[in-house]
Amino acid sequence: MPSNMEIQRISATLGPPTGVREAPKVAKLIDTTTCIGCKACEVACQEWNDLQSEETSQFGTYQTLPDLTPNFWNLIRFNEHEEDGQFAWLMRKDQCMHCEDPGCLKACPAPGAIVQYNNGIVDFNQANCIGCGFCISGCPFDVPKINAKSGKVYKCTLCSDRVSVGLEPACIKACPTGCLQFGTKGNLLDIAQKRVEQLKSQGFKNAALYDPPGVGGTHVITILAYGDRPELYGGLPKNPKVPLYLGFMKTILRPLGNLLMLLGVVGAFAHFSRYGKREDKGE
């Protein structure tokens, strides 16, 4: 975890952001209409992060694995789609969306296991992770994966280490067609809007940018030709939201839970002091 990126939010910790420096929000833009599924991004991610190779097998598709794994943080999902005699082979790069309002961070009970930097990147700190898996249920995109051996959770870091020294993420560097772009979210929104307009003029009436408001917007934004049906792209949820109860997790539920637990302990002690051990009644 890089030390020179200001932390804006910390899991299971109340209180205001601790940093003072300002930073523009970054984003990764994925243009699925120019993705050729070459997997340079898959290999770049593995190589940069020195991840172990997964045991893979041919399961009837060009897709490398059925799902992300603790050792495989970004996956191109291949989907064949046919309608009205038109055929499309949809390819979407799937990885952590780096939500502005991250469900994983809100769900996490371990202080400091999940942090969000002021530039928007959401990072896991395995040193503080207790392996409970709450982040998995908190994530509307089913991204975090538990490593069975270490018991810790892993996901795309948006190359926080590279970004902290002014480099672009490894996947972006490797992408040969310019399908992946990195920069400030403001700039990329402009670029994306122009591209969506171009796609609409070419006949893709429902082309849209996927930047779901239900999670406060994301720092990984995706251009979809069939923007009205994100589920075609390997199960991208149409309207992802952070589960409602998580909104109250840190502020109300957990403190309430802690309070109840404290009261329970205090109450049990008070009772013991007052009444002593339970006595046997009867011969």
């Binding site: 050729i36 190779s53 893979t56 009837g60 490398t64 055929f87 949809l90 310019g178």
Partner: protein, 801 residues
């Protein structure tokens, strides 16, 4: 490529056929994406499968594998019928006005042109010639003479109606017309289209004619010679272009012809290979052949090549027949080859009919395999029985394995598809005993020379007198060899007019324009001359200056010939030297000289003089009609050698009558009754040919061999995704997992339902990931011009394993 990678970014329409650039050239393919994003260019893909390129295309049309000539002929007909052709361009820059002599018969009735010898399976081309007036061809500038090329072209392709295209290729008339409109839209001067292709065209018994047909279409549309236009051939290996530039079995460096026994003297060679002008007022640049040839001989034999000994021409071996790759192994199978030295070539995996290849290699006395990984060729005797392997005890070959340095472990140039020589630097030392090919060659050569010096031999001179003047003879540097290829003088060069010394003795020549046939210049490859001259290592330049804004980058690397970026660029401007499209100017006449790109033309020739635009040809103009090829002056649709139907145009002459067919006991072929399914082979992004199965990360992303099967065929045979299936041809059987897909559809061909399947080629018995040898199934039938095997269309049967 006539144009280039970056130039693709200048196009309005990119037609991709016989190639899959998104799959196999993902980096170069970004230029197609750039054109789409920044110029609203249209990408049209016409292919037997919906592939990764089709995934980002504006239009996709599926055609039956091997029917590309029918489709392209249909496009030519569509352009001519609908007056969507660039008439001025045709009149100025092609042989459309040329008149053909009486007696030419077109193949409309029986599938044959005039002059076919049934027994020898070759044409007597006498009836194909131009009608001459003394030594020049007669022309009709109005294009109306019934025997002028333009009228013959119209007549020949009039049979290629949209309905006929649909019948032969299986695409719908509607789909054909839709893409025909888009593709032919580039006929106007302000629009330009390019054709991008690769082995999906070359790997057919009619491959050369497929490419021809596309080039003709591009001429009809006026797209050759212009930025954003051209014929953009995709080469495979990083330096395959450099390799073919330097030498093929039938060519010397720079595409000079390989001598044959009929040409015993240099004079006979020059006479036979130097073309004659066929029109007045043409440059006929190949008339400089003697300069290139003598300079080449001087590079080879230096001081030992003199006027007195015919510049050592007699030291060159004379080619006694076709000894290209498939022929050589056919010879080997017949016991005619003792030894093989193979540099980075894997015959077991890349030749058709692997069982024959394995049997052939077993007959060698010895073999030297120079390789970066221990691939199938290097351990051919370990081939399993089911892959056609012989029992190892039956293999008597003595094998020498020499580990070679990989691409990042040595420096030198790669010449890419765009003809750019780009210098690359060594990044890391080769491991263990691995050495660069240059060093391996040098050591072998010097040892052989030593033996000749000691023991003599039948004809030692070519070996003993070869120039080998390097700082360290055992390991020449790439710079030294690059300078040899560039060329230098051995005597002061004096300008005829000014009498000044333009080059001193021993200086590097600026380019091939300085080459002489008097023995005072030496040049290893005239085409590459200019790559490393007195200005320095031009292949190592990396300037991103782009004053034209068209991505020419004249100071990035060195583009042959003469650093020209777009070839045939005189045709990018009209008769007055004004560019057809001022926003994409190739060259233009500024009143005194041609400026822009390096002119493919005499730089100070006033357009009023009307010097022929295509300077390398005796006609001075591009050949819509050409007699250079085996099959005929115009491409005609012929079925693949193993085809599911008879040729709908002329069933009696179904396949290419001139195709070369190998004929040993192992060269067996199948028919549609037993093998009803069309099969094709192809590549995957994640792998490169056969050696990436040694690489962990690539095996991770594409782990196993598979067979792509259309949904309805899978249903018919009860095959589910991931189930093991057997694919068999007349030559063998392979087993693999099924990938049931919507991306290949069944087709109706002339009323018959035809299925197509396909599989990738990358597997074999060596490496971390093993699988079947794709080429166990492919046939030994070759294109008559290129000797290229028909890997891309053959007949198979499919069943559950």
């Amino acid at each position: 490529m006539t144009n280039g990678w970056v130039d693709i970014g200048n196009t309005d329409v990119a037609l991709v056929m016989g190639g899959n650039p998104a799959e196999n050239h993902p980096c170069g393919f970004k230029w197609v994406i750039e054109a789409k994003k920044h110029r609203n260019a249209k990408l049209v893909v016409v292919d037997p499968r919906f592939n990764r390129t089709a995934a980002v295309a504006d239009q996709f049309v599926q055609i039956r594998a091997g029917t590309d000539i029918a489709f392209l002929g249909g496009l030519i007909n569509y352009a001519l019928e609908n007056k969507r052709y660039h008439e001025e361009y045709l009149k100025l820059y092609t042989n459309a006005p040329f008149i053909i002599k009486e007696g030419l018969k077109l193949p409309e009735e029986d599938g044959l042109f005039s002059g076919f010898d049934e027994k020898k399976k070759v044409y007597d081309k006498a009836s194909w010639a131009y009608e001459l007036d003394k030594e020049y061809a007669k022309v009709d500038p109005t294009l109306e003479h019934p025997r002028c090329v333009f009228q013959l072209l119209k007549k020949h392709y009039s049979r290629y109606t949209p309905e006929m295209v649909s019948k032969v290729t299986g695409c719908s008339v509607e789909a054909f017309k839709k893409v025909a409109e888009i593709i032919t839209s580039t006929y106007t001067p302000d629009r330009a289209g390019t054709v991008i292709y690769a082995l999906g065209w070359t790997h057919h018994s009619t491959g050369v004619q497929m490419i021809r047909a596309a080039a003709m279409m591009q001429l009809v549309l006026g797209n050759i010679g212009r930025p954003g236009g051209g014929m953009d051939a995709l080469r495979g290996h990083s330096n395959i272009q450099g390799a073919t530039d330097m030498n093929q079995t039938h060519t010397l460096p720079g595409y000079l012809k390989m001598p044959v026994p009929d040409w015993q003297t240099l004079k006979e060679f020059n006479e036979a290979t130097t073309p004659k002008a066929l029109r007045p007022n043409v440059m006929n640049y190949w008339q400089n052949t003697p300069k290139f040839m003598v300079s080449f001989l001087k590079a080879m034999y230096g001081r030992n090549a003199t006027k007195e000994n015919d510049f050592a021409y007699s030291y060159l071996p004379k080619m006694t027949g076709n000894h290209s790759y498939v022929y050589a192994f056919d010879d080997m199978y017949k016991g005619g080859v003792k030894g093989l030295v193979s540099f980075g070539m894997n015959p077991v995996n890349n030749l058709p009919n692997s069982a024959k290849t394995l049997a052939a290699m077993a007959k060698l006395d010895w073999m030297v395999m120079v390789e970066n990984f221990e691939n199938e060729g290097a351990i051919f005797w370990k081939a399993p029985k089911e892959m056609g392997g012989l029992p190892p005890e039956q293999v008597k070959t003595e094998v020498f394995q020499l580990p070679a340095a990989n691409f990042a472990e040595k420096d030198g140039t790669f010449t890419n598809s765009a003809r750019w020589l780009q210098w690359k630097y060594k990044a890391i030392e080769p491991p263990g005993q691995a050495k660069p090919d240059m060093e391996i060659l040098a050591r072998i050569f010097l040892k052989v020379r030593e033996l000749y010096q000691k023991d003599g031999g039948k004809f030692p001179d070519p070996v003993l007198q070869l120039t080998w003047e390097y700082g360290n003879p055992l390991n020449p540097t790439s710079e030294e060899v690059a300078r040899e290829i560039n060329g230098k003088t051995s005597a002061d060069q004096i300008d005829d007019k000014t009498k000044q010394v333009t080059l001193k003795a021993g200086q590097l020549v600026p380019g091939f324009g300085a080459l002489k046939d008097d023995g005072t210049t030496a040049c290893g490859n005239w085409l590459h001359s200019g790559c490393f001259n007195e200005a320095g290592n031009n292949a190592a330049r990396r300037s991103t200056a782009d004053p034209t804004g068209l991505g020419m980058y004249h100071n990035w690397g060195f583009s042959w010939p003469a650093n020209r970026r777009v070839m045939y660029n005189r045709a990018s401007a009209d008769a007055n030297g004004k560019p057809w499209d001022p926003k994409r100017a190739g060259i233009k006449w500024n009143g005194e000289r041609w400026v822009g790109d390096v002119p493919d033309y005499k730089v100070d020739s006033d357009p009023k003089e009307g010097l022929g635009a295509f300077i390398m040809l005796g006609e001075g103009v591009a050949k819509l009609y050409a007699i250079d090829f085996a099959e005929g002056p115009f491409p005609e649709h012929y079925e693949a050698y193993e085809a599911p139907v008879e040729n709908p145009f002329h069933p009696k002459v179904s396949a290419n009558p001139t195709a070369k067919v190998m004929s040993t006991d192992k060269d067996v072929f199948g028919k549609a009754d037993k093998f009803p399914i069309v099969c094709t082979t192809y590549r995957l992004t994640e792998h490169f040919h056969y050696w990436t199965k040694h690489i962990r990360r690539l095996n991770e992303t594409q782990p196993e061999f598979f067979v792509e099967i259309p949904e309805d065929l899978a249903k018919e045979k009860g095959i589910k995704n991931e189930q093991l299936v057997k694919v068999s041809s007349a030559r063998g059987t392979i087993t693999g997992k099924a990938m049931v897909t919507k991306r290949i559809k069944s087709m109706m061909i002339n009323g018959k339902k035809v299925y197509q399947i396909g599989f990738p080629i990358h597997w074999g018995f060596a490496g971390q990931s093993t699988g079947p040898l794709a080429n166990l199934l492919t046939p030994t039938v070759l294109d008559a011009n290129s000797s290229m095997p028909e890997y891309k269309t053959f007949l198979v049967n499919l069943e559950k394993a």
